[in-house]
């Protein structure tokens, strides 16, 4: 068992608080944008946590994580468009995404995990680029650059009434309609929670301990009887499967899948930033990193707009705080976080008290 420090308790308390806020998000923040943000946080927590399993727990640097996310999203999208909005299409799409992810991950893993980390990273980058080009070119199947729009199961339609009163009207709880949109959000929340808990179980298991040992010293792990390539391939496959399932969930939430939402390299950069900000090799850091980055992506511009207005009478400052410069400020925040929290937010806080 990993040593429990006061810092660990603080991080877990923060994650529990975030979990509670996400659980009650539809009731606490009753606008469309907030629910969009909450759903995106849920999905990115899983995506970042599965990437942390690779980079943080095993030391594997991959640029193909978005590709597996895309396999899951496109699997569901293609199945829903071809078969119609049923659960059978969701199941088949998810299964197809998972199977393709397993096959590609095993192929990359067995062929490439013996090489040095930098070459492996380059190979994953090349494969991901090829898949992105294919997704654009196989337009009959993938919708090309325009992507695919489709319907999801009836229960996720906004007009769907989960609970009705005597007059047949949808019931409201704390002012929130119990409709299909709410069902869709809780589908995203529940599946994300299950996948995140599964990842926590994996890293807490003896398998997770072997991964940490491999990350620390491959030769030592082999000297006590562990086949490093087999373990690295296994963890690459597990991370790919989780990313693929996250992609399926995102496709159901968005009701649209295209290169920009499922395969774009900017998603890969977001994942990398989230895992670094949150803290590699902690799993809990995925939650902090995803929350901070998604909130910054959605609200930093608004915040800067308010700040620019408030400082309108001060020279230079409104110019610097112009909402169009939000990426510049995001970069500054990232540099400061890395400087003051070198192990990421969760990693640095959890390390407090580790010497005792």
């Amino acid at each position: 068992m990993t040593q429990v420090t006061n810092g660990t308790r603080i991080v877990k308390a923060i994650v529990l608080l975030i979990g509670a806020l996400l659980l009650f998000a539809p009731f606490l923040f009753q606008d469309v944008r907030s629910i969009e943000v909450a759903a995106r946080i849920c999905i990115f927590v899983v995506l970042v946590a599965s990437y942390d399993l690779l980079i943080g727990y095993t030391g594997i640097v991959s640029f193909a994580h978005t590709m597996f996310f895309g396999f899951g999203a496109y699997g569901a999208a293609i199945a829903l468009r071809q078969m119609g909005p049923g659960w059978d299409a969701v199941a088949l799409g998810a299964l197809a995404g998972v199977l393709v992810s397993i096959v590609v991950a095993i192929a990359i893993g067995l062929l490439s995990l013996r090489v040095k980390a930098i070459f492996f990273a380059m190979i994953t980058l090349a494969v991901a680029s090829v898949v992105m080009v294919l997704a654009s070119q196989l337009s009959q199947l993938t919708g090309g650059e325009d992507g695919i729009t489709y319907k999801t199961p009836e229960v996720f339609k906004t007009a769907y009434k989960l609970v009705t009163d005597a007059d047949g009207k949808v019931v409201k709880v704390f002012g929130v309609k119990l409709n299909g949109k709410l069902a869709a959000y809780y589908f995203v929340f529940a599946t994300s929670l299950i996948l995140f808990i599964a990842l926590l179980r994996i890293v807490a298991s003896p398998f997770g301990t072997v991964l940490k040992a491999i990350r620390e010293n491959e030769a030592r792990a082999e000297a006590i009887g562990y086949r490093v390539v087999a373990y690295r391939t296994a963890v690459f496959v597990i991370a790919a499967v989780i990313a693929s399932l996250a992609g399926t969930v995102y496709a159901i939430w968005l009701k649209y899948t295209g290169p920009d939402t499922a395969l774009n390299f900017s998603i890969m950069i977001d994942i990398l930033l989230m895992v670094v900000i949150g803290g590699m090799g902690t799993m809990w850091g995925a939650v902090n990193g995803a929350v901070l980055m998604v909130l910054a992506q959605y609200y930093l511009r608004d915040l800067m707009g308010v700040a620019a207005e408030a400082t309108a009478n001060i020279p230079v400052l409104p110019y610097l705080l112009d909402p169009h410069r939000w990426l510049f400020w995001l970069g500054i925040i990232f540099i400061l976080l890395v400087y003051f929290f070198p192990k990421g937010l969760a990693g640095t806080i959890m390390a407090k008290g580790a010497r005792t």
Partner: protein, 234 residues
């Protein structure tokens, strides 16, 4: 009965020939000590047995089975544990996690654990602490304990006394005597006092060749030979 046999083993590291001709017979039971000056090829011999360097040509047989060409993982799974010179522990993991890594099923045999605690009481005290926070002696104890958490037939130990305080070396010697009751130890050591207190059989390696092999008793009695091979006399 011979447990481990090295025949005309030669090992090259890159373009350099480190072992030229190493032949030793390690009998089953007790402690076999491999002595030698710095750079003589002691560590390379152990690493070649474990498959971390591939000997070529020459052969390594364990219970009559040829280990040449086998992967390190397969050699470890035959019941050979390796405690390297730098202890080989995982500093980022706790003592418990380090120990659990060396178990086949990820669980401890309670009797074996009690045996370990009796040998090295400090490990019980620091069970949930990260290994990097242990002292040098405690790290060495952890490395040895990990090698014996499950019954092994042979343990290769590389310079376990390096940098340790005399009191800890005494404890380590007592622990090795206890371990040698049930397991064969192939010990590489420069501390001759420590080695002579433990070894029944021994060999001296010099410049990648076995310069002498025999019983420890005879070697201890021959101070001229000690002077010649190790540059010391007891």
């Amino acid at each position: 009965m011979t447990l481990l046999s090295l025949q005309n083993m030669k090992t090259n590291i890159g373009q350099y020939a480190v072992l030229h001709d190493v032949s030793i017979e390690v009998p089953e039971g007790g402690v076999f000590v491999l002595l030698g000056r710095n750079g003589a090829g002691k560590t390379t011999t152990l690493r070649s047995i474990m498959g971390l360097w591939q000997p070529s040509p020459g052969s390594v047989t364990f219970r009559g089975r040829d280990l040449t060409g086998l992967h390190t993982v397969d050699i470890a799974r035959l019941g050979i544990a390796f405690v390297p010179e730098n202890m080989g522990i995982f500093g980022g993991l706790t003592v418990e996690e380090n120990m659990i890594l060396a178990t086949a099923k990820g669980t401890f045999d309670p009797k074996r654990l009690t045996y370990i605690y009796d040998l090295f009481p400090a490990l019980q005290k620091f069970w949930d602490k990260p290994a990097w926070s242990l002292s040098g002696g405690q790290k060495q104890m952890l490395a040895v304990a990990r090698a014996i958490i499950e019954p092994r037939e042979l343990i290769l130990i590389d310079e376990p006394t390096k940098g340790l305080a005399p009191a800890i070396i005494d404890n380590m010697a007592a622990a090795f005597r206890e371990i040698a009751q049930s397991t064969t130890i192939l010990l590489v050591e420069q501390n001759f006092e420590f080695a002579r207190s433990l070894g029944q059989n021994m060999a001296v390696i010099d410049d990648g060749r076995i310069a002498h092999a025999g019983t420890m008793q005879d070697f201890v009695a021959n101070s001229a030979l000690q002077d010649q091979l190790l540059g010391l006399s007891v």
